[in-house]
């Protein structure tokens, strides 16, 4: 009864013979695939950035060469890149840990400040005598910073667990409290000669830098990368181990993926909300310690150009993978550093933005298959 079917296509005449078809993926792509997609996204972003540089009259190749030189061109600048990356790694970890459980801790900035405050308090109250050994100073400052950060994470965590208060609002608001809390101390209590900053910490409260060993090994002269970078890498390994190899990490992943199933598996969700917020806060606090004792060496205002917020982006771009956080942080460190070289604002920030957009957009290739098919294939094969 079908023989006399009308074979004419009902498509309009002007349509292209090919079309793009987007289908959801039904199978997992291979392991290397997400990395390849991210790499390709960065390449596309750099090309787009280059076009924009050319439009404003710059030479894209020269600009990129300059950026490369200014961030990874020599051991010296690469060391500076790592210095910039250090706090980013730690706040990136802080955010990835919380986000893994779908706790939207956007208070890493405040926790960073409280960490810095905790470390400073050890020197400035003072809790330790001026001439105490670095072996005493550094662990004490790290501990104080971790505790203050954890406290700043505990408050929103407790409020969420006990009263179901939205952690996005509380963590955001507590950022402002942390900044003003710090301001109070640098304006009123620990001010040095009326300036809005404390006195410089004693040398034994500085995290050792490579350049400190230049007397013995001259090659290290001028390398400002400090112990904080090593601490950050250790933290990466620990966080990775917790998330993927520990019982607690399993609970975090289960709650993050399906809290109802987690409850069904007998997991105490409220307890985990508080613990994860504290751990996240402690990591961001550690970033504050590292920055204040490794770079700034005194408590002052504006110790963070928004590291806590950049950490959110880093965690997201790294897809919450602790090792990817290191790579993304170094990339961002390089862009921050080199950006300042070519222009104080503008182009470098724009390139950062384009990279961000491209990486986020590239996600579609992970979740969907994009194919180009012949438009009239349906008619022909039949």
């Amino acid at each position: 009864m079908s023989g006399k079917l009308n074979q004419k296509s009902s498509l309009p005449q002007w349509s292209l013979p090919y079309m793009i078809q987007i289908e959801p993926r039904l199978t997992e792509p291979p392991r290397w695939y997400p990395w390849a997609v991210s790499g390709a996204a960065i390449v596309v972003a750099l090309i787009l950035g280059g076009v924009l540089i050319a439009i404003v009259g710059g030479n894209p190749f020269a600009s990129y060469a300059h950026i490369a030189r200014a961030s990874v061109g020599s051991i010296g600048v690469f060391s500076d890149t790592l210095v910039k990356a250090t706090p980013l790694i730690l706040v990136g970890l802080a955010c990835s840990l919380a986000f893994r459980m779908r706790l939207w801790n956007i208070g890493a900035e405040g926790q960073f400040y409280m960490g810095a405050f905790g470390a400073s308090a050890v020197v400035l109250i003072p809790l330790l005598p001026e001439n105490a050994s670095p072996w005493l100073y550094i662990p004490a400052m790290i501990l104080a910073g971790l505790l203050m950060g954890a406290l700043w994470g505990f408050i929103p965590g407790f409020l969420k667990a006990r009263y179901n208060v939205n952690e996005i609002i509380t963590t955001l608001m507590m950022n402002y409290i942390a900044v003003q809390w710090n301001n109070f101390f640098i304006y009123a209590i620990w001010t040095e000669g009326g300036f809005q900053m404390s006195k410089v910490f004693p040398r034994s409260a500085w995290l050792p830098r490579l350049t400190d060993y230049a007397d013995k090994i001259p090659v290290l002269r001028g390398l400002t990368v400090h112990l904080g970078f090593v601490i950050a890498l250790i933290a990466v390994v620990i966080v990775w181990f917790i998330i993927y190899r520990s019982r607690w990490g399993y609970e975090i992943r289960l709650i993050g993926d399906n809290p109802v199933a987690a409850r069904y598996a007998g997991i105490n969700i409220k307890r985990n909300i508080i613990l994860v917020m504290m751990a996240s806060g402690a990591l961001a606090g550690l970033a504050g310690v590292s920055e204040i004792t490794g770079v700034v060496h005194r408590l002052q205002g504006a110790i963070s150009p928004g590291y806590g917020f950049t950490g959110i982006i880093i965690a997201w771009l790294a897809k919450l993978n602790p090792f990817a956080v290191v790579i993304v942080s170094i990339l961002f460190g390089a862009l921050i550093l080199a950006g300042r070289e070519i222009q104080p604002s503008g182009i470098p920030k724009m390139i950062q933005g384009i990279i961000l957009v491209c990486l986020i957009a590239s996600d579609i290739f992970l979740r969907y298959r994009v194919r180009i098919v012949r438009r009239n294939a349906t008619i022909q094969e039949a």
Binding site: M1, S2, L254, N258, A261, Y264, G266, T378, A382
Partner: protein
């Protein structure tokens, strides 16, 4: 268009439809014909390609090759809108409604009329009138979130009718309905047929297929095994055979055995539902080792709350739960798990599994606290993988490897993952809540066998189900629940004639002692 052409018997013709998904040939040169004014069932197991074929017809997917004709005219749908314009509409398993808007607003959504000003008051009566005509009673001014699932389905139907659809595709519409609502839906469909419309009914429930449809087309693994067979000329066994490709045992061998000691005792349990209304009003019963206690009832009469109270996921306001002579009332869920209680939840994807985690992570859900899966606070990844691989073999979970996220699994495979996790620990007590919902015949049989195996090895099983047949063939005793109260208990003699009606009466609120058993 078709004035001069000879009369066309087929409203819809699909010829040699091919649709591929990565790794699967979902439709392999499938032909399908729909007559005007018929209810045509598309039967097949999960993953047979029924929904895919209909999504092609509804304009949601594009076929790779093949032709669709509607009233003799070749159509090329690139969106559901095109299909609706051609008079073809589909009601999906998951409704596409805006919860915060009213019924009328949802129905008007996306239409050109009204253009700018929403004069809803003019449209309310129109919607109500359309509803009356097809027996779809629903308040046009009600907000979607206030409606039951059955009512929401009626809104979806009204949406299609309001758009003047001539061919209605319904994707497993009865899966979400209570038995009483199913009859209502069938009446509506019959009214539509009288009105000259045609219905395609996707299902894998043989009983319904025989009850409602004129003809059946059976799909198996993407291919047609029977095209447009009249339901009057075929038996359920034959259909099941066409569907799964082998004889299905409808009656399982159930060994006679003595029950052991009482495992679970539920005493006068009262509990509230999520909205704070009383859901359980004094439920008492006990389950012994080596028996399956069936709990029958229309969905939403307190079964969910009861399962949650027993497993520690919901607090009860009064009463006691005694498990192996230990009072575990209102203890946290972890207590029930540690005492060896297993629970197959009703909702596989939202409660039973974590969709983005691997099969390994999902099967260790209740075992990750003890060796060999974990030592101290460290999870032993190798032990977990080995455990998952063992379960994959034993329970026949069909996946390339145990690292696959469970969201990629079919319903049957997903249920096997849950069953493997719950049963592998040889639990003394098991709550199985609708364990076969949405599964195909082959998978249902597997689940039934596993439940009977539990019974034979001396476990106590509480089977909560809406499928009477399932309850009758598996249970040693049956309780019927209605509005949070037990209406009575039936023991033995499940083959007797009037029993189904008795249970039916109890399910609708008549206590057992008030039913005159002699009369039936």
């Amino acid at each position: 268009m078709g004035e001069s052409a000879p009369p066309i018997p087929n409203v819809v013709e699909m010829r040699s439809i091919v649709k591929r998904f990565p790794g699967v040939l979902a439709n392999d040169h499938v032909d399908f014909e729909l007559l005007k004014g018929e209810i045509h069932t598309l039967l097949g197991e999960n993953g047979a390609g029924k929904s895919t074929l209909m999504n092609v017809l509804a304009g949601l997917y594009r076929q790779e090759s093949g032709i669709i004709t509607v009233n003799g005219e070749v159509k090329n749908f690139s969106s559901p809108r095109d299909a609706i314009m051609a008079g073809i509409g589909m009601v999906h398993q998951h409704f596409m409604l805006v919860p915060s808007q009213t019924v009328t607003e949802n129905i008007l959504l996306g239409l050109d009329d009204p253009r700018f000003r929403l004069r809803l008051n003019e449209y309310h009566p129109k919607i109500a009138e359309l509803g009356d005509r097809f027996g779809l009673k629903v308040d046009p001014k009600a907000k979607i979130w206030q409606l039951s699932v059955g009512e929401q389905q009626r809104v979806e139907l009204l949406k299609m009718l309001y758009r003047g659809v001539q061919v209605l595709i319904m994707d497993e519409p009865t899966a979400v309905l209570a038995p009483t609502e199913i009859e209502g839906l069938f009446n509506t469909l019959r009214t539509m047929i009288i009105d000259g419309k045609s219905v395609i009914f996707i299902s894998h429930k043989l009983q319904e297929v025989m009850a409602i449809s004129d003809r059946v087309t059976v799909l198996r693994k993407g291919k047609i095994t029977a095209a447009g067979v009249k339901t009057s000329g075929i038996t359920r066994q034959e259909l099941a055979h066409l569907m799964v490709g082998r004889e299905v045992l409808f009656h399982l061998e159930k060994k006679l055995q003595k029950t052991g000691k009482v495992i679970l005792k539920v005493e006068d349990i009262h509990a509230e539902n999520d909205k704070g209304l009383p859901a359980l009003k004094g439920v008492s019963f006990q389950v012994s080792a080596g028996e399956i206690l069936g709990l029958a009832g229309v969905a939403g009469n307190g079964q969910g709350e009861l399962a949650q109270v027993i497993t520690g996921l919901r607090q009860c306001t009064k009463g006691n739960i005694i498990f192996n002579s230990e009072n575990i009332t209102n203890r946290p869920a972890i207590t029930a798990i540690q005492r060896g209680m297993a629970y197959i939840p009703e909702d596989r994807t939202h409660v039973g599994t974590a969709p983005n985690l691997s099969i390994t992570d999902n099967v260790i859900m209740k075992k990750y606290r003890q060796p060999p899966i974990s030592h101290g606070w460290v999870v032993d990844g190798n032990a977990a993988t080995l455990f998952a691989q063992r379960l994959k073999e034993e329970y026949d979970i069909v996946v390339p490897n145990v690292e696959t996220p469970v969201r990629l699994l079919s319903g049957g495979n997903l249920q096997r993952v849950i069953l493997a996790r719950e049963i592998s620990g040889k639990p003394p007590f098991l709550v199985a809540f609708q364990p076969t919902r949405g599964l195909d015949v082959g998978a249902i049989e597997g689940v039934h066998r596993l439940l009977l195996e539990q019974r034979e090895t001396g476990a106590a099983v509480l089977l909560i189900s809406e499928e009477l047949e399932e309850l009758l063939s598996l249970s040693d005793r049956i309780l019927v629940i209605y509005e949070g109260r037990i209406m009575g208990e039936l023991t033995g003699g499940f083959e007797s004639e009037g029993l189904v009606e008795t249970i039916g009466l109890m399910m609708t609120g008549t206590a057992l002692e008030k039913i005159d058993l002699g009369a039936s």
